[in-house]
């Protein structure tokens, strides 16, 4: 019992300790955490892109758009569920990331919609893209492809190989 508690504590310590090889991209005051997308069904034309963007700066930043190598276009979308109905609208004028704040793109919420997919996205693939900010400009990122039904970011099979 005591041993398992200790093991649990150790595991937790590893979980919360900043992983040396975390999938994140820094650009000035911005930290872009684990850009990811999901495997798509065969024939699918669209996919969602997700990430968490942290703004450590003193002034707000704005995500204006994005690109994704396997898609012809990317739209920023606001999505919400109301009474079992999913609604989706383009985020006009980009998405603000407040000073000392963060914004999360996730399934069922704010997301990037990749349209005109050129190929089927397969789990564990990594796809190049960019995020375009009002002040920080264009930042190169890579999107990790998670499983089709994933609802939450799972950081790194490839990046986080523990020692």
């Amino acid at each position: 019992m005591r041993f398992s508690l200790l093991a649990g504590a150790l595991a937790l310590a590893f979980l919360v300790s900043p992983a040396a090889s975390a999938h994140e991209i820094k650009a000035g005051a911005l930290v872009i955490h684990h850009p990811w997308t999901r495997a798509t069904p065969k024939g699918a034309q669209v996919a969602g892109g997700y990430t968490l963007i942290e703004n450590k700066g003193d002034s707000p930043e704005r995500l204006m758009g994005a690109t994704f190598a396997a898609a012809t276009a990317v739209e920023l979308h606001v999505m919400e569920m109301k009474d079992g109905v999913m609604t989706m609208r383009p985020a006009v004028g980009g998405i603000e990331i407040p000073a000392h704040g963060s914004i999360e793109f996730r399934p069922g919420g704010l997301h990037m919609m990749f349209t005109g997919l050129k190929s089927q996205l397969k789990e564990d693939d990594e796809i190049d893209g960019t995020l375009v900010f009002e002040k920080a400009g264009t930042v190169a990122v890579d999107f990790e492809v998670q499983s089709m039904g994933s609802q939450t970011p799972v950081e790194g099979h490839d990046h986080d190989k523990t020692n």
């Binding site: 999901r38 798509t40 069904p41 065969k42 024939g43 699918a44 034309q45 669209v46 996919a47 969602g48 739209e75 979308h77 999505m79 569920m81 109301k82 009474d83 079992g84 109905v85 999913m86 609604t87 989706m88 609208r89 383009p90 399934p107 069922g108 997301h111 919609m113 990749f114 349209t115 499983s147 089709m148 039904g149 609802q151």
Partner: protein, 219 residues
Amino acid sequence: MTRPTEPEKTPSVTRIARFAPYAVGVVLAGMLGLSGYLIWAAVGPQGVGLSGAVTGRQIGPGIGGDFTLVNQDGKTVTQDDFRGKALAIFFGYTHCPDACPTTLSDMTDRLKALGPDGDKFNVLFVSIDPERDTPALLKTYLESFDPRISAATGSQAQVEDAMKKFRVYARKVGEGDAYTYDHSTAVYLMNARGELVSLIEYQARQDEAVEKMRRTLAS
């Protein structure tokens, strides 16, 4: 309304006595409310009548009914093709970035979790987007999921008729080729006689969803 001023330092017994019935009443009402909530929590979300997932209004009997659609092989199908087995039916479209592939992926996992009982279900994904979702595209799309899942679309009129029968909400948003839909995301669980037994709401827990599917088989 002004707040009553501080009561005298020694509240009289009569005053307490005067308020006691109210206090008891408040406590009783609270208990009633709590038990009501507990009953709702235990029964409501399971019960068809209180689910309210589709339009936000109560879902009564009479959901479902006759429909005529065209399946992924281009063959006309009606409700009769799905009787004799339970039916899990839901509505979406392939240009949907989130809810539709997620639901299909979840249904694939649920069928697996059901084991041999999975064979007692028909699962039907109805496209509300006949303009872009041809039977051929649906057939390709299905290859990524459990082979027991089929898909259907139809003429605009056929699709709208089916949506009406299942009280599915869908609204086209945007123009040109890049349009999307606001749409209902629940999976309807019908028993072998075509009666609605339960709904699986979007992002329901897998174990709860599988339990609902088992109940559908038992009903």
